[in-house]
Amino acid sequence: MRARALAIAISVVAVLLAALWFTHKGPVPRPLIAQARGHCVVNPSRMRRIHMMWLRQVRMRVVRYGVALRADRLTRCISCHVQKNAQGQAIPINAPGQFCSTCHVYAGVKVDCFACHAAVPEPAFAPGHFSGAHHIQAAFLWPRVLPRHFKASLSRAAP
């Protein structure tokens, strides 16, 4: 009796393994990220790891304290990373296969930035004339670059 149960169990496992073997397609291919124009405001490999914290921090500073540096604009991220179609029109950056969605589909993480934010750059904006080094320094030191009246009222305005 026990030998029969064992045989059944082994055959079931064998069938499952065989099914896996035949349906297996190999690892999911790594995402192909389109080349950006211009230089990123942070080293790209670092930006890949920190951009979610970066965006959270920056949006708080820009929206609530009104301290917006040039490097903070989501529009600037989009201007460098957006792709154009054959007609020269910008493709929304969250469209399938575009810069944001490529990685986020791979990682299985939803992006909800573009429920509110425009996914294409400003029409008049010319990309690529932006090198970020000094803006970055300012962004990391932001309490020091606050205008005086913001600094004075920060404790009161804090959410």
């Binding site: 609530r64 509110c116 934010h117």
Partner: protein
């Protein structure tokens, strides 16, 4: 502004506003309104008022942005400010209950005399905003420079602020938005209202409506720092009598009106 019910912002045929406030200085008028409120509601008001005071005196802020709208210069039939707002912020321009409206032209008329006035009404950027007081998530907030905004990252779309605002300045985005302006993000499920074109203000430019009014040559709107005695708006406020809408509510709007 003696009768609280005499002003209905969304109704273009609202009842006439009397001229009582025009002969009295703004500060004296506000002081009178405050005095009346304390006398009438002394037991309840004391706690409420001290809660606000604990956050710091707004009058001490070095920057407080505001508007002065001169109804004497505002032309009936002109909607340059409304169209500029629509164009700059990517609004639909429709006026149905589902459509966001940040600024609207209002006509008031005295039924006895037929005296008519036109002026725009938008978020009044109050010193003590009701929308901020009721917001359960802290999404509705007042910036250090006095601009009242919705932080849409925190807004859960409960619409308390729409109910609380006596100026009906807040709107709700009920449908998916696809054609946002890059500098004015807005999306389904969030409340929104006039931002005083905060992105332009941060760049040192006046709001789009003010610029449009000036381009049209009417110059009925003036933007500036109310707390800077040297600014054009503060000088004008010191020179002429002005009033705020529903000053009796004690929310101390940052938008002042002249000639209503």
């Amino acid at each position: 502004m003696t009768d609280p019910d005499s002003f209905v912002p969304q109704d273009s045929k609202a009842q006439a506003e009397n001229e009582g406030g025009c002969d009295v200085g703004r500060r004296r008028l506000l002081a009178m309104a405050g005095g009346v409120a304390v006398l009438a509601l002394a037991p309840g008001v004391t706690v409420w008022a001290s809660t606000f005071r604990a956050k710091g005196a707004v009058d001490a802020d070095p920057v407080r942005y505001g508007l002065l709208i001169d109804a004497n210069h505002c032309q009936g039939g002109c909607d340059a400010c409304v169209r500029a707002c629509k164009q700059y912020n990517g609004l639909s321009g429709k006026t149905g209950p589902d459509n966001a409206q940040w600024i609207r032209k209002v006509t008031i008329q005295d039924p006895k005399t037929g005296f008519t006035r036109n002026f725009p009404v938008m978020c009044q950027h109050c010193a003590k905003p009701a929308c901020v007081a009721v917001c359960p998530t802290g999404a509705s907030f007042r910036r250090a420079d006095g601009i009242v905004l919705v932080d849409k990252h925190r807004c859960i779309g409960c619409r308390y602020c729409l109910m609380a605002c006596p100026y009906q300045a807040r709107s709700f985005v009920a449908h998916k938005v696809d054609d946002q302006r890059p500098r004015a993000p807005r999306g389904k499920g969030t409340a929104e209202g006039c931002t005083l074109c905060v992105e332009r203000v941060d760049r040192g430019k006046p709001p789009a409506c003010v610029a449009a009014c000036a381009r049209r040559g009417h110059k009925a709107m003036l933007f500036g720092n109310l707390h800077d005695p040297q600014s054009a708006i503060a000088k004008r406020l010191a020179q002429y009598a002005s009033t705020t809408i529903r000053a009796d509510l004690g929310m101390e709007p940052g938008v002042h009106y002249r000639g209503i």
